[in-house]
Each structure stands twice: as structure tokens, then as C-alpha cells.
Symmetry: C2
Subunit: 85 residues, 2 copies
């Protein structure tokens, strides 16, 4: 299989799997199961993967990790928004 | 920064961020927040990333996604084990 197609399919699958958690948090307005430290570690790691993708010039790595950064920054915003309520 | 070092740091960070969920599930024996379909989608996607890593011959991609496959297969085993209790 072509490497880029393989990477895009892999990226779509791992991206899809992240969506339900975000929907659940938005719908239930409940962030008590989210660890702020781990969310920050994850966002840092994903951002480094985006950087790695740029250095290697690999679009599947860049796109899927950039998407994951967006999902997890949304979780972070939810965390800050719902934490006190 | 050297690409391999960057990839290894990125992989360590994203790997660390997965551990607390596994510990929580094992400790609390509670899998009701886990979606079986999404877990299977995630394991499929991660396995394709491992394949992608082998095709591209990139050790950071292989190691971090293989680790993620192991963590999520452990979650799958927990899911099957604790689902009925």
C-alpha cells in the first residue's frame, strides 16, 4: 500500500476515536475524569509530533497530530470552563 | 533538534499520557466509560501507524504506536474482563 494512503487511513482512524470523549464532555459538562496534567503532557507530545512531521515532511503525521492537538485543546477549554461549575 | 530525538520525546510524552486511564480502569474495575467500538477503531488505527512506521523505517513512530497498541489491548482485555461484573 502507498505510504501516504496508509498514513491517512491510520490518521483518520485514530482521529475518529478521539471524538466521542469530546462529545461526551461537552454534552455532560463533566470534566472530573480529566487530568489537567496529563492533558498538558498529551498536548505537548502531540505538538512535538506535528513538529516532527514538518521536519520529516510527512503530511499524514502533521494532519493527524494537528487534529489531535485541536481536539485536546478543546478538551482543555472545556476543562477550564466546566471545572468550577 | 535531531529528528529521532524529537520523535522519541514526542513519543514518550504521548505514551505517558495514556497510562493514567489504564491505571484508573484497573484500579476501579469500571469500564462503563469505554466504548468498545471506539477502542477497536483506535487499535486498528494505531496498528496501521506501526505498519506506516515500518514502511518509512522510523523507529519513533514504530515504538510509540506499538506501546499505544499494548496499552489499548490491555484496556480491551480489562473491558472484556470487567464488563459483566
Amino acid at each position: 500500500m502507498d505510504e501516504n494512503i496508509l498514513g491517512i487511513i491510520a490518521g483518520v482512524l485514530t482521529s475518529i476515536s478521539m471524538i466521542p470523549q469530546l462529545i461526551k464532555v461537552i454534552r455532560e459538562k463533566n470534566v472530573e475524569d480529566i487530568s489537567l496534567v496529563m492533558l498538558l503532557v498529551l498536548i505537548s507530545g502531540l505538538s512535538l509530533w506535528v513538529w516532527y512531521g514538518f521536519k520529516k515532511d510527512e503530511l499524514p503525521i502533521i494532519l493527524s497530530n494537528a487534529f489531535a492537538v485541536l481536539v485536546n485543546i478543546s478538551l482543555l477549554i472545556c476543562y477550564m470552563f466546566y471545572r468550577k461549575s
